[in-house]
């Protein structure tokens, strides 16, 4: 039987949808599947998928929480078990200031670190923190390190950073405590094209060493 969908009101113009009885992986799949069914129409403005829940924003002059909640309950043709994912390849150069540190901490050499990172495929779990910051899950266990004890300042945009089981390609110059292993010249946000970003939540990302 399909796990119960729950929605709760958020202020005057949103509902937050989740699946309280599902484990995080199954919940995320349901979120992605549901997100793909939602279209901006009849007062629905946008949806925002995250790790285990989905926000749906609406225009309160056109519709209301109840109507949007009922609309969402009527959806879900797909429960996300077999997500079809578009795949995207990002160029990467493994020359980050922390590459050697990751090698030491994991007991690998630098080439093994880059081979492990480039050999994996990553699911885009959610965007957050800053514009275009996509949380990519799927870092090989062998590279799983907690964040560094101190953050590095002014880490440039385009840095490929890792911590725990995740990887991010940064889009802004910012401080970070994640391990900076390389850089990518592939822009994530694409404001001048029809799609605002190179990939969507639910898609798969791979890295290819730039020659």
């Amino acid at each position: 039987m399909r796990a119960e969908l729950r929605w709760r009101p958020i202020g005057d113009s949103g509902v937050l949808v989740d699946f309280p009885s599902l484990d995080p992986e199954a919940a995320w799949r349901r979120v992605v599947a549901l997100d793909r069914e939602i279209v901006a129409d009849d007062g629905v403005l946008e949806s925002c998928p995250a790790l285990v829940n989905l926000l749906v924003r609406f225009d309160p002059l056109v519709t209301d929480h109840e109507s949007v909640g009922r609309l969402i309950e009527s959806m879900e043709a797909d429960d996300g078990t077999d997500l079809v994912a578009s795949e995207h390849v990002l160029d990467i150069t493994y020359d980050g200031p922390d590459l050697a540190g990751v090698a030491v901490a994991t007991g690998l050499d630098a080439d093994q670190v880059s081979a492990a990172h480039a050999g994996a495929s990553y699911h885009v779990r959610m965007y957050g923190f800053a514009p275009g910051y996509a949380y990519l899950k799927g870092l090989p266990e062998v590279l799983g390190l907690p964040r560094k004890p101190t953050a590095a300042r002014d880490v440039p945009a385009g840095s490929v950073i890792i911590a725990n089981d995740q990887c991010i390609v940064t889009t802004l110059t910012m401080p970070t405590g994640w391990w900076v292993i390389g850089r990518s010249s592939t822009p994530i946000l694409t404001p001048r094209s029809a799609r605002p970003a190179r990939f969507a939540v639910g898609d798969v990302v791979r890295f290819r060493q730039a020659s």
């Binding site: 709760r8 009101p9 958020i10 202020g11 005057d12 113009s13 949103g14 937050l16 995080p24 997100d35 901006a40 403005l45 946008e46 949806s47 925002c48 998928p49 995250a50 790790l51 285990v52 829940n53 989905l54 926000l55 924003r57 309160p60 002059l61 209301d64 929480h65 109840e66 959610m126 965007y127 957050g128 923190f129 800053a130 514009p131 275009g132 910051y133 996509a134 802004l172 946000l189 404001p191 605002p196 970003a197 969507a200 939540v201």
Partner: protein
Amino acid sequence: MTGAAIEVIRAGPMVTVQDTGRPGLLRYGIPASGPMDRLGHAAANVACGNELGAPAIEVSAGGVELRVDVALTFGFAEASVIVSGRVVAESWGVVTVAAGGVVTVRPTDGRRWGYLAVAGTLRTTVWFGSSSTHVSSGLGGGVVATGDRFEVTNAHLRADLDGPVADPRAGDGDGPVRIVLGPQEDAFVSGAVDRLVSEPFGAGGGDRMGVRLDGPPLELADALTIPSEPVVRGSVQVAGDGVPTVLLADHQTTGGYPKIATVLTPDCDVVAQRPVGAEVRFVAVDAAEAIAVARAEAAERQRFLDGLAAPDRTLAQRLFSRNLHPGGEPD
């Protein structure tokens, strides 16, 4: 139709270009940004004959000082305006500045954000279809800095509109702030929700991302960790120390702190404008009441802006304003 330029003689921190924002991109980590006080921004534009969504300058406490190279008409809201050393206004209105004139703008007393729109088109950088500045990235129209120069196209001199405009909030800017509880109100100790809606809080420090509230701590029942989830403008998130923050225009799009409530859309701007130390009281409404409030406030806002845009508004608004602010009329 004239081309013109505005030179920034001096700009304090957190002075930015804003239009109505870029909604619809939360899924890519991009908040809508846009003005902290949407009514003030719209009024500054409409009062000087612009479309309400035109790019305008949002000013924080440090203010901004501009020199115009040709005569220009400005609309302003929630602003203290000095033109070439002469105090023009401490409120909402329109002023025409002569060629070579210097206009100094600050938020009016008791407000955090003031607005200045130029009659015409302020040329700015556009990002994802909007001039609104997202401050932490600097993307959009941008943070206004000393030495900047803005080009103005289609400048229209509207000295006929000069004069004050009635402050639509006069008298009701200090009411309780309406919230819908949740989504994690059950994660707090018993009594926390009662404290939120019964005890006074004080507006604390903040920026375009959000404003902290000083008051009784809102303790979590357990050291709750929730997976990062979408947040909105108006989310009242509570950090581990029990201090609530109301997220505002430049908020991060996801967060892992529990949210005890969400402030209704029109009241977000009221919270944003409360000066540091001002009292903030909350009142909880249910979802259906929140919809009713949103609709009533939108209708009220539309009536006010329609009145500003009406061809005969100058006389009517001036008379109205004279009653509200005796002695406050500029010459």
